[in-house]
Every structure is written in C-alpha cells, then in structure tokens.
Symmetry: none
DNA sequence: GATGAATGAGTTTTCATTCAT
DNA sequence: GATGAATGAAAACTCATTCAT
C-alpha cells in the first residue's frame, strides 16, 4: 500500500504485479479458475507468460495471492468503517453500508469472493481453503465483538452467540448482494441499511 | 420416480442413468467438477465412456442434470416437511430441522450444492446457473409463502418482505451448515431449531 | 516374443507397441533422449500423442522400456551364440563375431546402447541407470563364466579375474565397434575375431 | 595457460572465463547437459546471464569449450607422465597410474568425460562430437607411438596394430574406471598398474 | 446397442536468449 | 561493459469426445 521508500525498480515491480493480478481478477471473476489459462492472463496483462511466472510460482499461487489480497482488502475496508462509529448500532449500519459500497465498486469480483469464502469451493487444490477461511473467521470475530460489546452495554439482547450473530448478519448481507447480483433491477441492495438490519433488530414475533 | 407404465428397456435405462448420476455425484462432491474425468465417472459407474455419452450429451450436461436433480430432491424434501405442519411457526421449525437432516445424510454433497446454489459457481460454463437459480427461487417462494401466511394471520410482524425473509432464513441455515461442515465438533448444527429461529423471531433490540 | 495364445486385440496391441518403440528407437538413436519430443515420436509412429501415453506412462518410461528391451535383445543374441560352441576359445570367437553381427544390423542403435551401458549417461533421471547396469553385469557374469571354465580346464592362464577379463573383452570389442562407427572405411570391424582376441590371447611381452 | 603479455583486461577476462567454466563443469558433471540451465551456471559463477553470453555464444558453445579444454587438460596430464619414463613398459605403467590419479581427483568429472569421449553422446547437437573425437585420436596416436617404439625395439610382440593396442589399453583402463565409479568399494581401481597391464602383457593362452 | 481405443487440441511450465538500462 | 527482466517457443502431458468394432 505504501510504496514510499522503495527503489524505482521495486515500485515498478509492484505496479507490474498489480497489473497481472488485475488481469487475472477480471478473467477469474468472469470465467472461474479452471476456465482461464495462464496465456490468457498474460495476454490480458500484456506480458509474456514467462514474466507471469517470474512473479508467481505457478497458477495456483497466482490465484491464491489474488484471493488473499482481495479478501484482505475487503475485510480491511469493512472493518475500518466499523471503527468510524462509536455506537454499536451505528457500527452495524456502517457495516451493511460498507458491504454495499465495497461490492458495488467490484461487482464482478463478488462472485469470486463468494465462491471462495462462502462457496465451499473446489477450485484450488488445498491450503487456500484453509487460509482463506481462517481470514474469514478472524474477520467474523471482529464483527462479533461489536455484538459482544452491544450486549455488555445492554443495547442488544443476548438472542444468540455474538459470533453466530456476526455470521448471520454477514450471510444476510451476502444474500441481498447475491439477489442484487442476479437481478440488479428487481432486487436492488437497499440503500437504507435498516431494511436489512431490521430482520435482526426487530423480532419477527411479538414478544 | 414413478417407473410404472414404462417398457422394460425404458426402466432399465432409467436405472442406468441413476447409477451414472450416483457415481458422478460421489466424485464431484469429493473433488469438484474440474478434477473429475469422464473416464473416472464411467469406471465408478461400471460403464464404458461411450455409454455415458449415450445418456448425456457431454460432461457439462451430465453435471447439470446431476445438480438439477439434486436440487429438486433437496427442495422437495424440504418443502414436504413444511406441509406436515399447520402452524407457520411449526412449519419454519420443520424447515430448519429438515435442512439439518437432509444434509446430515448428505454431508459430502453439501459443498457441491452450496457451490452451485449459493456460491456463485463458475464450475460449468453457462446455462446451469440460470436454471438452477430459477429453481432455487421457486423454492424460496414456497418458503416465502409461509411467512406471507403467518403475516396475514397476524402471527408474524411485517419486518421485511416475505421473500427476503425466506432468503434470510435459508441463508441463516446455510451459514450454520457451513460452520458445521468446517468444524463439526466446534460448531454443531443446533438440534433445537429455535437456536437459529430466535435470531429471526426475537428482536436483537428491545422494542 | 511368442505371440500365440493371445487375443487378436492383444496381438494388435503388441504390434502397436513395437511400432512406437521402433519409431522412438530411430529418433533417440539419431538425436538423443532430450532432443526428441513425444510429438515427434508420435508423428513418426503415425499415432496421436495420446495413444503414446496409453502405452507408456511418460517419456521416461518409454525410454526405459526401449533401452531395457534393447539390451535384453542384444544380450540374449550374444549369449545364445556362446552356447553354440563347446570349446571356450570357440565360444569367445563366437562372442566377438556375434558382437559384430548384432551391431552391423543395428548400427544406428549402437550409439544409444553405448551411451546407456557404457557411457555413464545422464539421459534419464534415475532408476534406469541402476537397472540397465545390473543387466549389463548379469550379462558380463555369463561371459566371465566362459573364462572361468577355460581356466579350470587349463586352457586359459589365470592372468586376471574372469570377471575382469569379461569386461576387458567386451570393452575391447566396443572400442573396435566405436572406431568402426566413426570411420567405417578406415577402421572396419575385423571379420576374423582373432584380430581382436589375439590382444588377449597372445602376450604383448614374450614370456 | 601463459597469461603473460596480456593486458590487465585480457587477463581479467581469462580469469572470468575460467570461473564460468569451473562452475559449468561442476554442474554438468553432477546433472548432465540438459538438466543444467544457463541461469544456474551464471548464479554459481556469480555472474549475470548476460555476461555468460558475452563469453560464450550459446549454451552449446559453452559446453563445447568446457569439454574441449577438459579433454586437453586430461590428455596433457596423461601424455606428460608418459614422457617421464624412458622404458616403454614403464611408460605404459605411468599411463595407467596417471589415468587413475587424474580421475581420482576428478571423480565427478569422469562421467562427463566418458559420456563425451566414449559414450557416443547426444548431449550436444553436432560438431562437438567431431572435434572432441579428433582430439581423442590425436591423443591415442601419441599413446600408440609408445607401442610402436616398443615393437621397433623388440620389447613388444606385434600382436596388433599399435593404434589398436593404444585404443585397447585406454578402453581397458576405462572399463576399470567405470567399475570403480559404479562400486568404489567392490571394484577399486588397482594401485598396481600391472594388474591391468598383465591382460595385455601376458598371453591368456600359453604359447 | 455397448464398448473403449484413438484422437489432438489445449494446458501448464521451463529456459535459452536478447536488449534496454 | 555488466546486468537481469522480459520474452515466447517448445515441451510433457491430460482428457472430453468420437466412432469403428
């Protein structure tokens, strides 16, 4: 992220790497891991295949780097918006809004992200799965802490484990994102986060 | 399903088809679409590859048939349990319980089902997506009708569109299934459906 | 070797295999292991690459099969001529003559055979080396037994270990073959085996 | 060899060249021509690949230079020991002893040398073969002259052409070296040169 | 009608060589 | 003059699909 303090060569390399990952992201998002060839990626990034292999040991590693960096970027974007509010309710609102914004800018990437984090993917042999899931859960724990705090402060009722509430909220958002992805016109992602949050906040059944 | 009224030959063929699909399911569940070859499927089903191609135009179609029939079987199993109760709350409880049971028996298949219905899969080129999603939404609409009815009867508060509530509930269940799949010991799927349903039923915030 | 008792299919397969090995032999003899591609072999044998891989797991195995079968064929041809004589001196004469004949018919193969059995080759990764050398030494032991017997009968003086004499004689023949291979006109392999054998039989120094 | 009379730059370059060849020798000896990359050689010699190409037109030429210089070094070492004796028998003894010593110090190189001079190698496309063989025969002729002289002086019987005797003796030594290379414990190269020479000197058959 | 051998396009990956810095 | 990043041709190998038996 911070390119300062790097030699020109190093900065140059970083930029090249980003270009390759960007090309790969676009292709993988569109067609999936197995339907994209290294030649295709190289061509799109406007490098020779050999150059691709200078930056990534093999296709699997390229993919893994891509997914991990993507997840980190998303998770960082999401957690950072949480920090921007004090009130737990506001934090959750920020989370839902951020989720919308992050993916609105990256709609094509949404599928890829879901396929890997939620989709029980078979795409890449092994290891990625584990690594990416660990990151996901680390991320969920940070969302869970919002619920935890809200409960301690007495703002939230203890209707379920904070961790499960985090997963529930995230999965709720994902459902709406998926609906939106499928039919943007018919199922727009609500601009008002409370449309989604009310499902959690308000009881379906009158107490 | 109903084999009556068919010639012996036709019945025979149906059985063969099932055998092929069963072999394919096992392999795809374990390794994913791209890591299974037609030869492997043929060998497991104890047919020649050529015979496989008599029944399915190509690998994609075989996969598609498999997923579609799988989804139908699951959706039928789930909706049938809904019908077994009169009370809407009980119907939702049955839904959650059925979800648990359906996948407890088919744990290896869970990944495959998720990859396709929820995972924004890239496994197969195109077309499957559309068809499988349509079926999924038809299924969601039948779940939505439970919420709809509950609202009409005044049992449920109108905290969100019935359809969105259906998607929300299903996605909630899926989250728990996924947690269970990843770490069966640590995150068992709750035997009591209310653990999950309370997230919907009870408001997080005290009204 | 004996194709009888095989199904037509099996015989057919054996013939195909031979065709592939023959094409490979010609190419490897001419250019060496690393300068021949599987596509080239397939093309020369008039099969598709895929078919090649049906018969040989990989390039290494194809090469190994080739060399091992080649060595066996040569060694069998050589040892069989030894058996055709009773007198040890005659046996050695037969050996030298057979060596000439075997390679006169297979001149292009000579280089390949030498590269592997005598050339301390790096061609193929591992295993072949060991296996081919073991066969070579088994073969040398059978030649050594001729010297051994000749000594026991008092026909030969015990000027060196029989095994070393076998290796010496073979290496002597190989030198003449190599000279012949390089300059057939200038250094023809002697038709009279005694030209070579005298180097062993007669002392350079007058006792 | 004689670096005098050269500019500093020229001497410097000669040194670099030697370093590159030394690195290449080590790698080729260990893994063979095709399993060593130019990058590997450059890295081992601590130069950039580009620099390697300043000194050698391509990989083939580098290899060729290496082998030719290697052969010259060995042949020079061997012929020089011949010169150190007056008696022809002693000269041959010196030859056998020198052969042992030369390769004892360079055991890893032995394979490479054999592969090229005796192994009918395919390592390098063309040309090397011719050049290296010419040198080998020039070397053989100088060994042949020992036999020639011995015959003229009446010390040796004329059991074969001097040139063929030279080739025979060398090939005899090589066989023992090869046995030694394969199983140093089981087949040590004899310290006493007569163990080998007796095969030539003494007749196998009692005159 | 079933079979499975044969096909060959397509994939990942390596590495000798060049050339801008 | 040295460097080493970039190149892309070429290799080994796989597998969906066909079709003669």
């Amino acid at each position: 992220m911070a390119d300062e303090g790097l030699s020109r060569r190093a900065r140059e390399n970083l930029r090249r790497r980003e270009e390759m990952l960007a090309a790969a992201l676009e292709l993988f998002s569109e067609k999936g891991y197995h339907n994209v060839s290294m030649h295709e990626i190289a061509a799109k990034a406007e490098f020779a295949v050999g150059t691709l292999y200078k930056f990534f040991r093999n296709k699997e590693e390229l993919y893994k780097s891509l997914i991990v960096e993507l997840a980190d970027r998303f998770h960082e974007a999401l957690t950072s918006t949480i920090r921007e509010a004090d009130d737990e309710i506001e934090q959750l609102r920020n989370y839902v809004k951020a989720k919308r914004e992050v993916f609105a800018e990256n709609i094509s990437v949404l599928r890829l992200y879901f396929a890997e984090t939620r989709g029980a993917s078979f795409n890449v042999k092994a290891g990625l799965d584990r690594e990416i899931r660990e990151r996901y859960h680390r991320f969920m724990r940070s969302l869970a802490s919002v619920f935890e705090r809200g409960m301690r402060k007495g703002h939230f009722r203890r209707i379920a484990e904070p961790y499960y509430l985090a997963v529930a909220l995230d999965s709720l958002c994902n459902s709406f994102l998926l609906l939106w992805l499928e039919a943007p016109e018919e199922h727009p992602f609500p601009e008002n986060p409370d449309v989604i949050l009310d499902i959690l906040f308000r009881g379906l059944i009158n107490a």
